[in-house]
């Protein structure tokens, strides 16, 4: 909401500087987002607000009068003005088209009052787009010297208008600094959804009066001529009071729509509205001033539609498929939740949103029927959003306008209409008010104020604060009974009303004055959160293992995920997804099912940026559940590893590429560091992985996820280099649930171990894990460590064979192991390997 300071001052005295004013309003919930100076000087004090705009130099920009408009000797599109600026008479050059009608008419009988800028004045350049500051310099245009000018609104920063110069109202005093005559500032205030009552000059003034303690005042109405009574000239039928609680009509006859007085046009422009004519301007002016949107009908059009009889205005829901051409010229098809203002001949306007084209006020309008009504906010909101129509009226009605405002607004508007357009205001109003709202009465005790705000206020203090906002308050003992004033709909009843009042009290008391405490309420029982702790531990472990954490979009598309999920070969049917009804783009149309697909995209994007790719993410995937509305959201862990094993250094130029065992080592270390019980990794196959380089991580019998090298055909779907891409995706929910909150450790042995190496030759097909498992079984408790240190293939051991070399540690917890004991264990291990695997010892 744009609030011109001069207008606000008509309703309440303001003795604060602009920054102080902005601060007070902001701290009361009327956030001043920006201040635009329109003539007034820039405040000297330090301030916390964005203040922009133009200050008018009082010496250089003044009110002047043009006494004669003369043709330019060398240019048809320019004129010379004889102008008096209060000091001297000068000749000023201008190309303003709105002076051309006066050209060559000799001395004007009624001089034109204008805004005159002398040499050296700081102005906006009227010929450049946007607002560019310039200093007025002496120049020669087509042989005529020019050192000063008459200004357009744009040049003074009032609006973008640069078609012609400003013609001030006749009462402007010549020679007066323009800033003193009409210098202003516009406060851009963000209106909160529950403060629509403040979306008017009166509304802001009321809040300001409550804050500063200055009285609220109503500017006097202009004098106007009264006509015959409205009685019998129009009737109203409301079919549903829930949709239309009140409808008021007033009548003015004999108007002549014309340009409004300059000060009205300027105010409308400063408030962000376009002046149209003096009839329409009056409706907008009063809406901005009082907050009640009004609508003017051409009364004669209504008479014609009613066959010459007085019109009956009927408000009702639209019928299915009914049509109306709104005054923007668009024919709209209506729905039954949209409310219509109609007459006996059909729809007239879209209630609370926009008028119809047919009954619109035009230059030819002479008699005006003026509507001030109240509409159901939900219907207005639904209709406006369905029709994608936004208007100042819809904005206000959708948030709730109190029906009590209507008659006063109609009366005030008719007075301005008469003052600016001529005509006689019919005596009285037609007022249909089938459903007056009951303004709630709220009881609030001192104890409740204390319980909500943590500050002790006496009943009288509370009542005083509320009275400033026009609540009618009674204090009974420690309880304040407050009646909501008849201009606001945001205060509820019962406990909600109490909360609403608490907010008003806190706002007026000042949030900054409230004390600062820590909760004295008992601390709730504190709980252990093992899953959350394990999740953070998992992050730390993976980061320590050299992986970069990423966080990816959870919105994706089936096509993106198919790159990973579709098997290397064979058909693929995309799974069921949580789908968006209103995706922002096709590639973000579903919720992801695969975390790994997203991390692979990250790796792909970074492939050219880094020789070593090592990423992980922990996050949810979204799996629709049959027969249920809401999906399952299990947590996953995804890892991607590719490129060099280590970053190259100046003395190790070409590090080896990471392979399956780098990834496996990371998972082994992760499982170990998190104390995952009974974990093991076993060969397995997975449709998108290399069939010979894939495995599954288990804890006991529970499968936690897969790991492996991406299948070459799947890898070809991505833009990766030649290095293998290693991936893993684990069920993080399961993994984290297995992380024990406590675990036990072994003592450090005191007796020396016996350490020896053995090399075993087995068939190539025998998995190393099986060999190790047999060694451990046979070795029993005394065998404390088995470490594979070499795998060898070669002629010496024969084709189809491999030699596995182990470093074995035997150790007893209670004595020094003898060589004989060690030899015994060793024999047992060898015998078992021979028997089970046909292995032989390599010497």
């Amino acid at each position: 909401m744009k609030v011109p300071l001069s207008w606000l001052k008509e309703f309440v005295e303001i003795d604060l500087s602009l920054p102080e004013l902005a601060y007070r309003l902001t701290m009361a919930g009327l956030e001043v987002e920006e201040i635009r100076l329109v003539g007034l000087p820039m405040p000297a004090e330090a301030h916390e607000f964005k203040i922009e705009g133009l200050s008018w130099d009082p010496d250089k920009i003044v009110v002047a009068q043009i006494e004669e408009v003369m043709p330019h000797p060398n240019a048809d599109r320019l004129v010379l003005c004889r102008l008096y600026d209060g000091r001297e008479t000068l000749t000023v050059l201008t190309g303003a088209p709105n002076l051309f009608p006066y050209k060559g008419q000799g001395p004007l009988p009624k001089p034109l009052k204008v805004a005159y800028a002398r040499e050296g004045a700081r102005l906006y350049d009227g010929h450049q787009p946007g607002f560019v500051l310039t200093t007025l310099k002496r120049t020669k245009i087509r042989g005529v010297e020019s050192f000063s000018m008459v200004c357009s609104e744009k040049e003074l920063g009032i609006s973008e208008e640069h078609e012609g110069i400003i013609i001030l109202d006749d009462d402007a005093p010549v020679g007066m600094p323009l800033v003193d005559y009409m210098g202003d500032a516009v406060l851009e205030i963000a209106i909160l959804p529950n403060m629509i009552r403040a979306a008017s000059i009166l509304g802001v003034a009321r809040e300001l009066a409550a804050l500063t303690g200055k009285p609220l005042r109503q500017p006097p109405l202009p004098p106007f001529e009264r006509g015959a009574s409205i009685e019998g000239r129009a009737a109203i039928q409301i079919t549903d009071p829930d949709l239309n609680p009140r409808f008021v009509l007033g009548l003015i006859e004999g108007v002549t729509p014309r340009p409004s007085p300059y000060w009205v046009q300027r105010r409308l422009r400063l408030a962000g509205m376009r002046p149209i004519n003096s009839v329409v301007d009056a409706t907008n002016y009063v809406m901005l001033m009082l907050g009640e949107p009004l609508h003017a009908f051409d009364y004669d059009v209504l008479l014609t539609r009613a066959g010459g009889k007085p019109p009956t205005i009927i408000t009702r829901p639209a019928r299915e498929g009914e049509r109306l051409t709104t005054l923007d010229g668009v024919e709209r098809t209506l729905e039954p939740y949209m409310i219509l203002v109609t007459d006996t001949a059909g729809p007239l306007s879209l209630a609370g949103i926009m008028g119809g084209l047919e009954s619109e006020v035009t230059e030819a309008t002479r008699n005006v029927l003026l509507e001030g009504a109240t509409w159901n906010p939900i219907n207005v909101r639904r209709a406006a959003s369905a029709l994608r129509l936004s208007s100042e009226a819809a904005y206000r009605f959708a948030r709730g306008v109190h029906p009590a405002l209507a008659p006063e607004a109609v009366r005030v508007c008719l007075a301005y209409m008469a003052a600016w357009s001529g005509g006689r205001v019919a005596e009285g109003l037609v007022d249909a008010y089938p459903k007056p709202p009951v303004d709630p009465e709220v009881h609030l005790s001192e104890a409740e104020v204390r319980r909500w705000l943590g500050v002790s206020l006496r009943g009288e203090e509370v009542a005083d604060l509320l009275r400033r906002l026009e609540f009618a308050c009674q204090v009974q003992g420690e309880t304040v009974i407050a009646r909501v004033p008849p201009h606001r709909l945001d205060i509820g009843e019962g406990v909600i009303g109490k909360a609403d009042l608490i907010e008003e009290i806190a706002r007026l008391y000042g949030y900054d004055r409230l004390p600062e405490t820590l909760p004295a309420d008992p601390l709730p029982q504190q709980r252990n959160q093992p899953l959350l702790q394990a999740e953070e531990a998992l992050r730390d472990v993976l980061v320590g293992l050299g992986l970069q954490e990423v966080v990816t979009y959870r919105l994706t598309s089936p096509e993106r995920e198919a790159r990973w999920l579709a098997p290397a070969e064979g058909d693929y049917t995309p799974p069921d997804y949580v789908r968006l009804a209103n995706p922002i783009a096709p590639e973000r149309s579903v919720m992801r099912r695969s975390l790994l697909a997203a991390v692979l995209e990250v790796a792909e994007r970074n492939a050219r940026l880094s020789e070593r790719l090592a990423f992980f993410e922990i996050g949810p995937v979204f799996l629709p559940l049959p027969g249920q509305d809401l999906p399952e959201e299990p947590l996953r862990l995804a890892l991607v590893l590719s490129g060099v094993r280590h970053l190259p250094a100046w003395d190790r130029a070409e590090p080896p590429l990471a392979d399956f065992f780098d990834l496996k080592g990371i998972l082994e270390e992760m499982a170990e560091a998190l104390h995952v019980p009974h974990w093991r990794i076993e060969p397995a196959s997975y449709p998108s992985l290399h069939p010979g380089k894939s495995a599954v991580l288990y804890s006991g019998e529970r499968e936690l996820g897969y790991l492996g090298e991406v299948h070459p055909l799947v890898k070809a779907r991505y833009d990766f280099g030649p290095a293998p891409v290693l991936v893993a995706e684990l069920d993080a929910t399961a993994l984290l649930s297995l992380v024990p909150e406590r675990f036990e450790v072994q003592g450090v042995p005191v007796y020396p171990p016996v350490i020896e190496d053995i090399a075993v030759v087995v068939d190539e097909s025998v998995p190393a894990a099986q060999v190790e498992s047999i060694i451990r079984q046979a070795g029993g408790k005394m065998l404390t460590r088995v470490h594979l240190f070499d795998v060898f293939r070669g002629e010496q051991i024969g084709a189809g064979k491999k030699s596995l070399a182990y470093n074995l540690t035997y150790q007893a917890p209670d004595h020094t192991l003898t060589d004989a004991e060690a030899a015994q264990i060793r024999q047992k291990i060898i015998r078992r390997l021979e028997q089970t695997l046909g292995a032989r010892l390599r010497s």
Binding site: M27, A28, G29, E48, F49, K50, L192, P193, P377, I378, R381, R382, R450, R451, W452, L453, G454, I496, A499, I502, E503, R507, Y511, D512, L514, E516, T517, L518, P519, A520, D521, L523, P524, Q525, Q526, R527, V543, G546, L547, Q548, E549, V550, V551, T552, Y553, L555, L580, A581, I584, M591, R605, N606, L609, F622, D629, L630, E633, L647, A649, W650
Partner: protein, 346 residues
Amino acid sequence: MDDVLEINELDALQARALQELEAVNDEAALQAWRVAHLGRNAPLMQIFSRLGQLPKEVRPQVGQRANQVKQALEAALEERAAALRAAALRRALESERLDVTLPGRRPELGRLHPTTRTLRRIVHIFAEMGFQVYRSREVESDAYNFELLNMPAHHPARDLWDTFYTTTSGVLLRTHTSPGQIHVMRERAPQPIRVILPGMCYRYEQISARSEIQFNQVEVLAVGRNITFSDLKGTLNTFARRLFGEQARTRLRPSYFPFTEPSAEMDVECFVCGGKGCTVCKGSGWLEILGCGMVHPTVLQNGGYDPEEFGGFAAGMGVERITMLLHRIEDIRYFWANDVRFLSQF
């Protein structure tokens, strides 16, 4: 007695040996010197072996002198050996000198995502005030995301959130972590509550430097019989001072959220310019960091708490926004782009 032959010989021997030692410059020469002057066949040793044949009266005198010479030579040898070792070490150290300005060989350490870092800080600060983490789902029902939070269908406040809806009617992507308020209240009522609710939220917006379709939020919720607006102020100010520095000035500005009343926005004085106004705070000197307020009676009621008996406060903040402020990140799109050139800086 001066003319005892052996004494003269010993003096000469010592002088010669010490003189020769001066020239010894390496370990081999030192060993050779030792053999020559202290070895079995050295002249000094021969004097010792000849002692028995000397006249009885000179024997003690010569013996004593020979011992003195031996000790002197041994001491000189030890000193020389030490000097040689020291010189050798010096040479070795000198030859091993590195260009220490060459880059180090770094082990690969990953980094946490910046969002995780900020989340951890926030969680940690609130944990010390007794607020524990509570998580809830991201695909939500309209009821939990809006209706139970005091926003029935067509409530104008719904305009504050541009929402992603799913193809299942009444199911949407949560626009804030506030649905978690209802979940936790329904789970715990009538016990007091102090939780924070971190998590991903979604908004239907055009992606730009300033807005994203997904973002992390942390919601703070306290419910009890005696929770006041002053407690809200104290708790959030404590938080802001710990996150932004003990000197950080804050202010609460009245605002509106449908699920709180009274509602406020918290601003912290711009720590980039100290409140003087800069591009980060857009000239205002203040940075908006969170929205907050007292839990609305309707929300308490929907959560299973009697609003006549219980009160509460709630606050919500954007994790990426705070991260951007803390690290002066200019573009929110960096967060989910996961470019290593961005991530590796954390």
